[in-house]
């Protein structure tokens, strides 16, 4: 997996961030993890920036017609606030497996410009703003060669209503040209995936399924990997539009890759009310509630397809800063 001929990671102990740089087969990558901004602030690879904002746990999907009909939104509406306003309560740094005191300004005076390691891990602990609060730990482990191993742990809490989804949301600066994934055909959900055919699929543009009233869409269950291809950048000086890609690897997780966040979809009553497509919103889901279908005015989804917020949840995946080697 890791190529031993690649040099060790270079660590930059900044005052407010931790930078990690390296090369894989001559290609540069560089990541910045922020203490203040509470997460990964930069993922630079393949000649461009891949993060617009800091990835955060996500707890909301734009209500489907069935969610509205069976009053799921009223029962579980707190999760939209959790999704929008999560706070970070702790950051922890481990270098080559050893925890170090948070190397912020002052503490970082002990380091030099030539710090190297084989593995760096940052663990962010988030707490939701809802009552009772729930905690999520997100660990980023960066290894020589640039792979980022992400593990997400949700600590269940009694008294919390069912979740629509639980995942990690990555917002990229510009719209992707396309994405390619290995998993099931079409749009699938836990209770609607029998018709999905396993295979490798290429999806041009960032299509939004044109439901009469915009709602959650574009879910792909049981996915093994996704490659996201972008050409355009926001940089004022880097105008080159070269198509490059990063890759998410996982073990049968759900994902959606859309130009909108759940809240943007939630806000629109019609497709034409959605804003212009501007970013790429890539969500990797550890848990997805079924869509249901018995009726659209009260029937719940089947219990097997609930997401129970009172129980612990874990999922992990990996970001590879290049297309498949």
């Amino acid at each position: 997996m890791d190529c031993t001929n690649n040099e060790k990671l270079k660590i930059i102990y900044g005052d407010a961030t931790l930078g990690i740089g390296g090369k894989k087969e001559g290609k540069e990558f560089h990541y910045i993890f922020s203490y203040a901004a509470s997460g990964m602030e930069s993922l630079y690879a393949e000649g461009k920036e891949w993060l617009y904002s800091v990835p955060k746990p996500t707890f909301w999907r734009a209500a489907t017609d069935n969610d509205r009909g069976n009053k799921f939104c009223q029962k579980s509406g707190v999760w939209i606030a959790a999704d929008l306003f999560i706070k970070c309560i702790d950051v922890l740094v481990k270098v080559d497996g050893k925890e170090i005191p948070l190397p912020v300004m002052g503490e970082n005076n002990q380091y030099s410009e030539e710090e190297r390691a084989e593995q760096v891990e940052l663990v962010y602990t988030y707490e939701t703003v809802i009552n009772p609060p729930a905690r999520v730990q997100v660990s980023y482990r960066v290894k020589t060669g640039g792979r980022i191993f992400i593990s997400v742990h949700y600590k269940g809490r009694e008294g919390l209503p069912q979740l629509p989804v639980f995942g990690m949301r990555f917002i990229m600066p510009t719209c992707a040209d396309k994405f390619i994934y290995e998993g099931l055909s079409g749009e699938t959900y836990p209770d609607r995936k029998a018709g999905g055919v396993e295979g490798i699929y290429e999806v041009e543009g960032l299509p939004v399924t044109p439901y009469l009233r915009p709602q959650d869409c574009g879910m792909h269950m049981d996915t093994k990997w996704v490659e996201i291809y972008r050409s355009r950048q926001l940089s004022n000086c880097q105008k080159e539009e070269k198509q490059t890609c990063i890759r998410f690897e996982m073990e049968k997780l759900g994902f959606s890759c859309l130009p909108y966040t759940a809240c943007e979809l939630e806000n629109a009553d019609h497709q034409e009310e959605l804003p212009p497509k501007r970013r790429t919103v890539m969500c990797v889901y550890g848990a997805v509630r079924g869509v249901g279908g018995i009726d659209s005015w009260g029937a719940d989804v089947e219990p097997a397809y609930y997401v129970d917020a009172e129980k612990d949840m874990d999922f992990s995946f990996c970001i590879v800063p290049f297309a498949k080697a």
Partner: protein
């Protein structure tokens, strides 16, 4: 007879001068025209008509039908087309509330006995739009001198017809053909046809389907001339015996312009055009209208019709005059199949019937319920590609070609009668049958029987129809029981379907051959099936595919293998009902739903439940339908 606007208020007047409903056959005057599928005795009146819109009856140009009326101030409208889609009246989507909810207080005539008589409810209403249509036409040479009939295939919701100033008739039942005999009034040149269409009449209480509420002439208008001897109606009754042999009997009703010694030849050909039957019937009686029967004839081994291999036979009825000259040919595709209930399980051709169905409204985002062959063909392609084997014509009879297409492609039909009175017993305000129609009210009996008769008589020859459906969500009472009796007496083979007895179990033994439910959970279906069930079970609506839905289908499909008496269901529904408009902000072509036209009250996007989007592209959920329905293909 003179037209009377008060008919709008009277549930006992629903057809005046409308010809008896009859089989939907085509006819040709000779072999050459049959071969070319061209009929010189038919003339379409579709196209541009003169038109005037009035908001209410008192504002209408009441004498517009007169020959000397000056129609120079009239607009023009396309026929067929919904009047609202031409920009004249409010586009309105509402589900089960009556469309006047919150604007007018109304109760159906004769309900809540002793109270208000409701005179003038529709004829004097401050809002009851009227479309006044005028069409001028000449008769083609081929048609003049013959008996001429006009056929309106669909007009919502009540219409008065005049020709050359003379009153011809009045009709309701928006979704079956209304035909009028024009012979006494028609001229060779310069005919003036006047049609006055009302948005609401007492029929409105019976047409409360969950859809956009339109009015106007929304299906074809056709003139046809009858040859000297003409097949008015027939019912071919193919029988498939258990040994695989077929039998065929035939009831015929003929008419003649001039009484003569006619001869009838009945021919049956198989798919290779091999003649399987050739009978000659000689008319003994000399009358202008004659009913005759061809007794059951043995055919020998036949190829059966079903979803997998919809083999059709070609029936030809040829009429000759006394000189032996061919006067008319009627071709019709028929099929051999055997439908029966054994041990409370429905069998088709000896095999347990499994319904992998869908409910289909006729819909186009461009033109509403005014659709053409193009839409029908596309719909059929989606149906075939996704292993759907059955369609419920929710909640009204469809355009005639759809039934022929289903015969040809082997699609099982639940042919629904045009009846829904949902708002009269269940709506967002609650459930209360105190003023339900048709209920048990004698004044509302004949009108619903008429609708049943129109449905049956028009479509009885279609092999694809396995079920007659009495209507949708109209509760249950004596009048719906009478509809059930009508179908059972007329048609011994097909099954009768009605869901509403679920809400009024008193009628359980008198209405519906099947236990039909809508949106029952898989658990509720099991509940019925494990507690000494009386009837085979069908879900006439299930898997409500509003927006991003259709999850959990596995649990329904599993029932097919678990319970013999569970025979499947019809997904709700086929296509999103939404309309294309130009966005007032961006100018782009966009889809709009209820409430987007300032229409109130509205159930908003609740009409978007298709497995197709309104533009006829498939929703992502379709692959799930294809998978599960494909398991039983």
């Amino acid at each position: 007879m003179q037209a009377d606007i008060k008919w709008l208020d009277d549930p006992e007047v629903f057809r005046v001068g409308v010809l008896a409903a009859h089989s939907d056959h085509l006819f040709y005057k000779n072999e050459q025209e049959l071969e070319k599928k061209e009929n010189s005795l038919i003339k379409s009146l579709n196209g541009v008509w003169k038109f005037h819109y009035s908001k209410c009856p008192s504002e209408r140009p009441a004498d517009f039908y007169k020959s000397d009326f000056d129609s120079s101030g009239f607009d023009e409208i396309k026929v067929p087309c919904h009047i609202e889609m031409a920009g004249y009246d409010q586009i309105h989507y509402v589900n089960n509330l009556y469309p006047w909810e919150g604007k007018m207080y109304r109760r159906p005539a004769h309900t809540l006995s002793g109270s208000h008589k409701w005179e003038g409810m529709f004829s004097e209403a401050a809002y009851n739009p009227v479309g006044s249509y005028i069409k001028e036409f000449d008769l083609e040479k081929e048609m003049s001198g013959k008996r001429v009939v006009i056929c309106f295939e669909g007009v919502e919701q009540a219409m008065y017809v005049w020709l050359n100033g003379a009153f011809v008739g009045y009709g309701e039942d928006s979704f079956t053909p209304s035909e009028f005999d024009l012979t006494p009034y028609v001229k060779e040149k310069g005919n003036i046809l006047a049609v006055e269409v009302y948005k609401h009449s007492t029929a409105a209480f019976l047409e409360d389907q969950d859809f956009f509420r339109f009015f106007g002439i929304f299906r074809n208008v056709t003139l046809y001339a009858k040859p000297q001897i003409h097949v008015e109606d027939f019912w071919a009754k193919p029988v498939l015996l258990e040994n695989g042999n077929g039998k065929l009997s035939l009831d015929l009703r003929l008419s003649m312009k001039k009484v003569c010694q006619a001869k009838v030849e009945v021919l049956l050909q198989d798919e290779e055009e091999k003649v399987c039957l050739n009978r000659e019937l000689v008319l003994e009686k000399r009358k202008q209208e004659i009913c005759l029967t061809m007794e059951e004839a043995e055919i020998g081994p036949v190829k059966i019709w079903d979803n997998h291999s919809p083999h059709l036979y070609h029936l030809l009825i040829k009429l000759y005059d006394e000189k032996g000259e061919l006067i008319e040919i009627v071709p019709y595709p028929i099929g051999f199949r055997r439908l029966e209930i054994k041990n409370k399980v429905i069998y088709l051709n000896g095999k347990r019937l499994i319904i992998n169905g869908v409910n289909r409204h006729e819909w186009s985002a461009e033109s509403g319920r005014c659709i053409g062959m193009n839409e029908m063909r596309q719909d059929m392609e989606h149906i075939l590609a996704n292993h759907i084997n059955a369609v419920r014509t929710c909640h009204y009879p469809n355009q005639i070609p759809w039934y022929y297409l289903c015969d040809e492609k082997g699609i099982y039909l639940m042919a629904e009668t045009n009846l829904e009175s949902h708002g009269s017993w269940q709506n967002p305000g609650g459930q209360n049958s105190s003023w339900n129609v048709p209920g048990d009210l004698p004044e509302w009996k004949e009108v619903v029987l008429d609708r049943a008769r129109n449905n049956f008589e028009t479509f009885k020859n279609h092999v694809s129809i396995l079920f007659w459906s009495l209507g949708n969500e109209s509760y249950a009472g004596e009048n719906i029981a009478a509809m059930n009796t009508f179908f059972k007496e007329k048609d011994k083979e097909r099954l009768v379907h009605y869901e509403g007895v679920f809400h009024n179990r008193i009628y359980e033994d008198r209405i519906s051959d099947v236990e039909s439910r809508m949106y029952a959970t898989p658990e509720q279906v099991k509940e019925y099936l494990i507690h000494n069930p009386k009837k085979p079970f069908i879900l006439c609506e299930y898997m409500h595919d509003m927006g991003n839905s259709l999850g959990g289908m596995a649990s329904y499909i599993a029932l097919l293998d678990q319970y013999e008496m569970y025979q499947g269901g019809f997904i709700w529904d086929f296509i999103d009902q939404a309309l294309f408009v130009q966005d007032e902000v961006t100018g782009k072509k966009v889809l709009r739903y209820g409430g987007d036209f300032d229409d109130r009250p509205s159930e908003r996007s609740f009409s978007g439940n298709g497995i197709l989007f309104a533009d006829r592209t498939e929703k992502p959920a379709m692959q799930e339908v294809r998978y599960y329905y494909g398991l039983y293909k």
